[in-house]
């Protein structure tokens, strides 16, 4: 047994991560750490160091509120896979294979992930993705995308159908790949990195930029005050309210419920307009900065937000009551796109996509950051794993977020003054930072060299785990139910492709 146990966004020396031979590394993670109660893999990645590929595996344990980090260094060679024993490692290993050419001997689905610009095999092309095929006279294929019928990001969905029924769905992504992780190393001004973090996924600006800010502050041994922590928590919960409301609107659109679509849609507007009042940007770009804030959460803002939440809640409850008692909407929501608890656990879904299947995964409760410890956050759970569960979960989480914000405003600490001294990251260090965005756990990892410069930056959006959940959930559904199933997951393309 050789690993180091760290807390959420705790910086440790890189040399503190035990290095194991590959067989022991596999044994430790696959047969021990991941099998413990409350364990899930938050990141598993490789980077080049001294001519070898250094593999780092981070298994979070929700019971002990810690993250178990271990590593191994291997040359480019054929290796036995983790995924043969546990599917939660499936996509991480595909990524390692795609980036470094490690040929896993027994991986069940060793396919490209995103065709990054720095892939090991530059000859592989996104247009030649090896789709799963069935040789059958009864079945037919339906290809959708990469460009979809709407204002939405690109990705390709390949269905194998029996008549109208989906037998199999394979989701091919990578179209949105912008090389964000490499840019984190190349663009070395702090403001450039902040800007990168808030442009990873424009619907999770607060989530991703908080993950970066926590990580950077920890690397620089900077302590933030209570006001900033509370303001950041309010921002994260407001982002959750905004996107959940917008998603409820979009879900109404997909089942042709016009009133719900219009009312939820217009209810989102004042939430994002509040961000504009606070920080000058409707999606909160510019709000989160490591070690400081240009936009203190003033008394006036607090009063304005309290008043707005009262108004919002009345209208929100009215339309929610209508939606959830409307037979024509419920008929489309219930038992559509089911992901069972067993499936969710087997593939390691996170966040909303886990909680709707009865899997209690919520970083706010298990690895609390900012003001969540004081809030004593209890995750909302649903058990059916269908579109209805995802809709109800959003409704309940909005109510919970409103309560969290009201509580925080009551106990709001006075704004601190931050000095403008530049922060300097510690040399030869490692840090893993987890934030519960509205989709689920966002994970950022950083490694610095002897001068404190970044030598590796690794980002994992919750969508990285959850896309496979969508592919499994639509099996045996009618293909006409795919749009509502897809919208109810609302996964990120750019967050996956980075």
């Amino acid at each position: 047994m050789n690993f180091i146990s760290v807390r959420n966004h705790q910086t440790i020396p890189l040399s503190g991560i035990p290095m194991l031979d590959y067989d022991s590394f596999l044994e430790l993670n696959v047969f021990n750490l991941i099998r413990e109660k409350g364990a899930h893999c938050v990141n598993y990645f490789g980077f080049r160091l001294d001519g070898l590929i250094r593999l780092v595996c981070c298994i979070a344990n929700d019971e002990s509120h810690s993250i178990q980090v271990s590593s191994s260094a291997v040359p480019r060679m054929a290796l036995p896979s983790f995924s043969k024993h546990n599917l939660v490692f499936e996509k991480f290993e595909r990524e390692i294979h795609e980036n470094f050419g490690i040929a896993y001997t027994d991986h069940p689905w060793l396919k490209p992930v995103r065709f990054p610009f720095n892939r090991f095999d530059p000859g592989s092309r996104i247009a030649d993705y090896p789709f799963f095929k069935v040789d059958s006279e009864e079945l037919h294929e339906v290809g959708v995308g990469p460009i979809h019928a709407g204002i939405i990001e690109p990705g390709h969905f390949r269905f194998i159908c029996n008549g109208e029924q989906i037998v199999h769905l394979e989701i091919q992504l990578g179209y949105q790949h912008r090389g964000v992780e490499s840019l984190f190393l190349e663009k070395n001004k702090l403001l450039q990195r902040c800007t990168l973090a808030e442009n990873i996924a424009g619907d999770s600006v607060v989530g991703h930029s908080l993950a970066f800010a926590h990580l950077w502050e920890s690397l620089c041994k900077h302590q933030t005050g209570d006001h900033l922590k509370m303001a950041r928590t309010i921002a994260l919960e407001l982002e959750r309210i905004a996107i959940h409301t917008g998603d409820l609107s979009a879900m109404c659109t997909d089942v042709a419920y016009q009133l719900g679509s219009a009312v939820f849609g217009r209810l989102r507007t004042p939430v994002i307009n509040f961000f504009q009042k606070w920080c000058g940007n409707r999606l909160a770009k510019g709000l989160i900065r490591p070690g400081k804030s240009h936009f203190p959460f003033t008394r006036d803002l607090a009063i304005g937000l309290m008043d707005f939440l009262d108004e919002y809640e009345n209208d929100f409850e009215d339309i929610s009551k209508e939606l959830f008692s409307l037979p024509s909407a419920l008929a489309r929501f219930e038992k559509t796109g089911v992901l069972t608890t067993g499936q969710a656990l087997a593939i390691g879904t996170v966040g909303l996509s886990a909680r709707m299947s009865g899997v209690s995964r919520d970083i706010r409760a298990s690895h609390p950051h900012d003001a969540y410890e004081a809030l004593d956050h209890q995750p909302v759970l649903k058990t059916h794993g269908d579109v209805y569960a995802r809709a109800r979960l959003r409704k309940k989480e909005i109510n919970q977020s409103i309560n969290h914000i009201r509580h925080l405003i009551k106990i709001l600490a006075a704004p601190e003054v931050y000095d403008q001294n530049p922060l300097k990251p510690a040399p030869d260090s490692f840090c893993v930072s987890l934030v519960e965005g509205w989709r689920g756990e966002i994970c950022h990892c950083a490694i610095t060299d002897g001068k404190g410069e970044l030598i590796h930056y690794k980002i994992k959006d919750p969508s990285f785990h959850n896309w496979l959940g969508l592919a499994l959930a639509v099996r045996n559904n009618e293909i006409s139910d795919f749009p509502i199933a897809n919208k109810s997951f609302d996964l990120s393309y750019c967050g996956h492709d980075l």
Binding site: F115, I151, L191, N199, L259, A262, V263, K277, R282, K285
Partner: protein, 251 residues
């Protein structure tokens, strides 16, 4: 039924009556104004995350600017952002705001192709392609059609198929992996057609500028009919820009 009516009445009027004169709430960062005050200009230019600030004379390129406002925080006497959201233009050079410039950003009527008003003046159908967009401009383009901004009242709508479209709206810095699908989509739109770049990422690559994962050759191949700056674009910036493009031009 009665509950539905109650909800409808309770919503009141949500639409913005006049999108050309609406006032944005709060501290929106729109068109910047650069004063003539003496400051350490090199230090100021160095600050910008996307190299949007140039020297001699000091200017901000809104095609590169992410509107983070950091320059205005560091040099409040030199740079201030107004709430003017009328930022769209069809001339790339007009996006560069120079020191002392106070006048608003407008389209150059001479550059607007003659057929645009005739064909699209009262009906414009657009096909949107996200090519590495981070979903923020996409959210705001969707918002253009919601009950608040209601762009549909001007006959401007997003459509599902390029075959039904009169033009292309591109968001994102254009990834290499999207270069080919984008080209196929453009080719499928019948002539005459327009191209709109929505957001800083689409106009210049934004913070992703210089990334080897991009392929921006599409942009240099075609005439761009409208640049809409913003990170993300504000719905009012987009709607007003498009309205100015399709109106009867006075030349």
């Amino acid at each position: 039924m009665l509950d539905n009516l109650k909800i409808l009445i309770h919503q009141g009027r949500q639409y913005i009556p006049d999108v050309t004169r609406a006032i944005v709430p709060g501290i929106f960062r729109g068109r910047p104004v650069i004063s003539e005050v003496d400051v350490k200009e090199k230090e100021l230019a160095e600050l910008c995350p996307t190299n949007a600030i140039s020297l001699n004379p000091l200017s901000i390129d809104l095609g590169k600017c992410t509107f983070c406002g950091e320059c205005a925080f560091a040099f409040p006497d030199k740079i201030s952002f107004t709430t003017d959201y009328m930022l769209a233009t069809n001339d790339r050079n007009r996006l560069i705001v120079k020191s002392g410039q106070e006048h608003p950003i407008k389209l150059d009527p001479v550059l607007v192709r003659k057929e645009i008003h005739g064909y699209f003046g009262s009906s414009l159908k657009l096909r949107q392609v996200s090519a590495g967009g981070d979903n923020s401009c996409e959210l705001e383009l969707n918002a253009c059609g919601n009950v608040n901004f209601d762009m549909g009242r001007f006959g401007i709508e997003f459509v599902a198929s390029p075959r039904h479209a009169d033009g292309l709206v591109i968001t994102g810095p254009i990834t290499a992996n999207m270069a080919s699908p984008l080209q196929i989509c453009y080719d499928a739109i019948p002539e005459p057609k327009i191209i709109i770049l929505a957001g800083t990422d689409a106009i210049s690559g934004g913070i992703f500028e210089g990334s080897p994962a991009l392929d921006r050759s599409f942009i240099s191949k075609y005439n761009i009919d409208l640049y809409v700056p913003g990170n993300p674009i504000h719905p009012l910036t987009f709607i007003n820009g498009v309205l100015d493009l399709i109106k009867k031009q006075e030349t």
